[in-house]
Amino acid sequence: MRFWQLASFGGFLLLLPLILGLNDYYIFLTTLILLYTVIVMAWYFIGGLAGQLDLGAGAYHGLGAVVTGYLMIYYNVSGWIGLVLGGLAAMGVAFIVGFPSFRFGLKEVWYALASLGLVLILQKIFLLWTDVAGPLERYIPFREFDPLYMRARAKWFYYYITLGLLLITFYLAHRAKRGKLGLYLVSIRDEEEAAEMLGIDTRRYKLVALLTYSFITAVTGGIYASMVGFYHPILFDGWIGIQTATIAIVGGLGHFWGPPLTSVILLSIAEYLRINLGGTIPGLHQVIFGAILITAILFKPAGIGPYLESLIEKVRKR
């Protein structure tokens, strides 16, 4: 049973660009949805497992975009290398901010606010840092199809990169969940003192979660920059973090497949609403989106993932 589900699902994802008729616009939208889903999946490490309500996704996303884009434009460095370096830069920033935060025991709302503040600080720093970014958009040179440089006109190219990243993230998260890292992080989330008494270096493991998350999120930023062909400090967007955290909460905090599933569904709904309502009443699609989010949080506080799980359980028992 399990095999068929995975195989058909995998086949579907692989063939999706063809199913969409290789239409660049639809593939572009699908890629965007997958890209944000990757962030939701990466958030599983810091939010789901380690229980830190991080809202700083925009910081790492933007950093990845700027580093990748900057290297592509000014040093003609392949985007692939840019992705890695962007990820490392994000890890560096995450460490600089994360280490003292965990050292001084920031938690809950304070951690969330600090991470949100980080996004805005980085945005403004890059706005003022005109050598690298500044207020003007920087454009990545056009290439018809250059996989080595990681730039192509056809959108399916980015679709498969994103799909690859999604699979890697999924694999990493799954391994973490089953293994020592996941167990340690959950124990820290549940009861930090007890975890410490069992010999777990809580700060270190929280940092590991934060760094993993920041790396993957930065990679999404790099892919995004190459796909849209420019970068700008506006990519340090506080909204990405808020969206990621709410989707993860609606999907079921700490649940494994609930959040990504919710992400794909909700973001598809959001895009659908945008295409159909965005023209008539601008912003209405966002309100509906917000209403769906808040209803889900209020009435299924445990999240959609656990709810579906209990439903499946019921059906099986029958």
Partner: protein
Amino acid sequence: MDLLIDFAISLARNVVLGIMMGSVYALAAMGLALLFGVANLINFAHGEYVMLAMYMAYFFSVTLVIDPVVSSIINIPLFFLIGLVTYFLFFKRVINAPPLSQIAVTVGVVVLLRNIALVIWQAEPKAPPFTIFSASYEMGPITIPLDKLFATIISITSLILLYLFLERSKFGTAMRAAADDVDAVSMMGIDTGRLFLLTLGISMMLVGLSGSLIMMYQAVTPTSGLLFGLLSWAIVALAGLGSIRGIYLAAVIFGLADALASGMWDPRGREIILYGLFILILWLKPRGLWGRR
């Protein structure tokens, strides 16, 4: 020498501006501190309520052709009502829930409010076209804009009134006691549900008033909430929970940081200073400067 004098004048101007801006921030932050301190409720959407209050001030000012500061007469009771409505819609379910659930629900409120504002008022900044106070008072080289001065006076007056309420009235005393120990208060025979409701109401009234005051000299966008939310939390983090005086001083410190950063350095860099300061406070002074908890 001339340079030095210029610098001193510019510094003095910005200090005056900063104190006035901080005084208005204090109102917004006080609303948050009350709710967080008394009801122990983490309202992540606090800034969004300030944003909403600013829009309502704009709305009343434009439709009724009144000065934005007069709109506070409508805004204060309106926001008391909005407070009650949100209590029953959202907060009642999470008032005793763990912090994470409270954050989750109020983040949902952020999404909702921000986008409702986007639908109704669009994304471009809105500011009322007139205020009677669009003039300034020259005090030597220092210009004091009357709109901000007036906002400062109202703000300080309301804080004093709030202080008297907390010190003298029965409910005020109960609120202060609840900030220390909720269980003790409920044993004193005070209905904590009603106490929380009242706290939320007062918190929202402060928000409504601050929205009207800010609208006298600022424009509002659907994302303004982020700034005022973070700023309010930052002030509470710096002051700690406990005294109105502490909140006021912390707010003035942030107002000064704001004015000095945008006036003496670069208006685009103010967020770096404000939020940088916030994060540093969280690291180094987790209990705040004058906090009791």
